[in-house]
């Protein structure tokens, strides 16, 4: 079932939770709504479920307008952030709820619930109360309950937010496999970019009630459309430089930027991810590589596959973060004060436009 969101706006008082948002979700895809809190991602999810009504705009499912369809008639499975399990009911009755309110015959309820408890690997726990389960188990009860009514769409609000790191990663992989098996159109909300990128086919980055960028995880990561996306996806070096004649200048070092061929210089922000900077030891490179920046090491943290180095360019007080593959850095003596050379490999340049707000 495909979902089409057209020009949806939603205000809470004077706060614009969603500002003219349009989005298409393809049939069978797994889409992540990614953004900081207050970006409108949960509101959008609730509007798709019918739990909120948009001020203007429309929602379509497979071309049929469902904007005014009541939540109980939408046949949407919704997994709440804190699961919202019915506390006074057993796990079995929680999963059975959607079938019971539809007056499904008892035998059918029994077989369906048992099938679902098997699917979420909770066989034998049907008699427990939600309070007797671990966080991960509750999460799966919430999922089974949502799936019981055979929804056309599955919506998940911060599905792993309340779980600890290890359970989170396990559940994530398990949910991805489950989605591939069932093939239901699914949308989930998260503020964790790693979660969005690992799980989703498509990622929608939201900020201030608007969509900043939509695309595959690779597209969003490699070609961030806005400074916000660049910033939000984490760990980036920002430099207030300038552009002129098809080049951007980063600490005085020119980087090709054909998008701005004009001779008149303009202020610009230059963004480089830590792995897009190359670091070499100044002692090794007697003659510093051309177009490199002389700097000295401030801090080194060797953590797993990458060694994170914080450096300060000579004569500057900004701190640059550089990721060096651990294999490369193994033989090096890197300690505070060591002189190094930094070469930019790749950069993104954003010119301040009229809508440039950070």
């Amino acid at each position: 079932m495909s979902i089409h969101i057209r020009n949806v706006t939603k205000h809470f008082g004077t706060f614009a939770a969603l500002d003219d948002v349009s989005l298409d979700v393809a049939d069978g895809s797994l889409l992540a709504l990614l953004g900081p809190s207050g970006s409108g991602k949960t509101t959008l999810l609730r509007i798709i479920a019918g739990l909120e009504h948009p001020d203007s705009g429309s929602i379509e499912e497979d071309g049929a307008d469902i904007t005014d369809l009541h939540a109980r008639s939408r046949e949407v499975g919704f997994v709440f952030q804190h699961y919202a399990l019915f506390r006074h009911m057993s796990v079995f009755e929680n999963v059975a709820f959607g079938l019971r309110v539809r007056k499904t015959p008892d035998a059918q309820v029994r077989s369906r619930v048992e099938e679902l408890l098997r699917l979420v690997r909770l066989e034998g726990l049907g008699g427990r109360k939600p309070s007797q389960l671990s966080g991960g188990q509750r999460q799966r009860v919430a999922l089974a309950r949502a799936l019981a009514i055979r929804p056309k769409i599955l919506l998940l609000d911060e599905p792993f937010g309340a779980l600890d790191a290890k359970v989170r990663v396990e559940l994530r992989q398990w949910l991805r496999r489950l989605h591939d098996e069932i093939g239901m159109t699914s949308v989930f909300v998260t503020h964790d970019q790693e979660e969005a990128f690992e799980l989703a086919d498509r990622v929608v980055v939201m900020n201030h009630g608007r969509i900043e960028q939509e695309g595959t995880p690779d597209e969003v990561f490699d070609q961030p459309a806005t400074p916000f996306v660049m910033d939000f996806l984490g760990n980036v070096n920002v430099y207030h430089g300038r552009v002129e004649n098809g080049r951007a200048f980063w600490h005085g070092i020119p980087i090709d930027y054909p998008d701005y061929p004009h001779a008149q210089a303009r202020d610009a922000r230059v963004y480089l991810r830590p792995h897009e900077l190359e670091l070499s030891l100044a002692a090794e490179a007697r003659r510093r590589p051309e177009n490199s920046l002389a700097a000295s090491v401030v801090r080194v943290s060797r953590s797993g596959a990458v060694t994170r180095v914080a450096c300060r360019p000579h004569g500057s007080d900004v701190e640059l973060h550089v990721d060096v593959p651990a294999d490369t850095a193994r033989g090096w003596t890197l300690e505070p004060g060591t002189n190094v050379a930094i070469t930019p490999r790749r950069a993104r340049v954003f010119l301040p436009g009229p809508e440039y707000v950070i």
Binding site: F86, F97, S134, G135, G136, L171
Partner: protein, 293 residues
């Protein structure tokens, strides 16, 4: 926290509390029962049952209070739901209005009812034309009792409904439940102990109400006298043993209420703990079942 210096102060405060509770609550309560039962259980029973006016007063209290409590329950659930689930202009003002019966003297409440429903009152001519009697009659007693007990159920429910939050109800809706199904299967089971608590308190207050009922009843023996009014009338007529017998029934009801309250509050505390546990990010238990997957 019990340092050596604080121990004598703590002991002193505890002693003071025990003394106050003893003098103001325990001793008078015991005195009522002792006085009522002094002539013997048989005499006590006769004092309650031989006089038709006393019998009627007991019967009247046992009918007025449940009706008032029932009205309160319906109103309380609806009002608490409105206030806990919706934000609208005037919401906090409305919540303050729920408390008016606590701050207004019951006598004033009774007088207000007479002003509206009495023969010379606002609705007097209409009621006369319909031939409905409210003041000096059973409906007036119910109205007055409902008024003074109004805050008890709704006040009990608002914090509980706010603590539970709307998520379970929304989950029920998204699973296809209609309004009634949400209420009976999700909302009511979640608030049942708080509701029962409110009902018990409202019932105790309804049984014991004197001031408002005194004004609207016209204290007609055998017609509009409730138990508390009967106690007063017997006392004024120097029929102390009979007065004490009825008073002991009221006091007995209070003791039953106390026990019920104790049990219910225990349940409420358990539920609050469960809610807390359900909310806490209890993801630390390792999911062995998933590893096998």
């Amino acid at each position: 926290m019990s340092t050596d210096a604080s121990r004598p102060i703590a002991a002193l405060l505890i002693a003071a509390a025990v003394a106050i509770v003893g003098v103001l609550i325990v001793v008078p309560l015991v005195a009522v029962f002792a006085e009522a039962l002094a002539p013997g259980v048989a005499a006590w029973w006769r004092a309650l049952t031989d006089d038709p006016d006393t019998r009627h007063a007991i019967w009247l209290s046992l009918t007025v209070a449940p009706v008032a409590v029932a009205i309160n329950t319906v109103f309380g659930v609806a009002a608490a739901w409105l206030v806990a689930r919706f934000r609208f202009p005037g919401r906090s003002l409305l919540i303050s209005f729920f408390d008016v019966p606590f701050s207004v003297s019951p006598v004033v409440a009774g007088l207000a009812l007479v002003l509206i429903f009495g023969r010379q009152g606002l609705l007097g001519p209409t009621l006369a034309w319909l031939d409905w009697k409210v003041i000096f009659s059973w409906p007036g007693l119910v109205l007055a009792t409902t008024f003074v007990t109004l805050p008890l159920v709704v006040r009990e429910l608002i914090p509980v409904m706010e603590a539970i939050g709307p998520d379970e109800e929304m989950a029920a809706v998204s699973l296809g439940a209609n309004g009634w199904q949400v209420f009976w299967r999700v909302t009511l089971p979640n608030i049942r102990w708080a509701l029962l608590h409110g009902i018990v308190l409202a019932n105790a207050r309804a049984m014991g109400e004197f001031g408002a009922v005194y004004v609207v009843s016209g204290h007609i023996a055998g017609a509009t006298d409730t138990m508390p009014l009967r106690v007063e009338k017997l006392f004024q007529e120097y029929r102390q043993p009979a007065s004490m017998a009825v008073a002991s029934v009221l006091a007995g009801l209070a003791l039953v209420t106390l026990v019920a309250k104790f049990v219910i509050e225990h349940r409420l505390a358990t539920e609050a703990r469960d809610l807390e546990r359900a909310r806490s990010a209890d993801g630390t238990t390792h999911d062995a079942t998933l590893e096998a997957a």
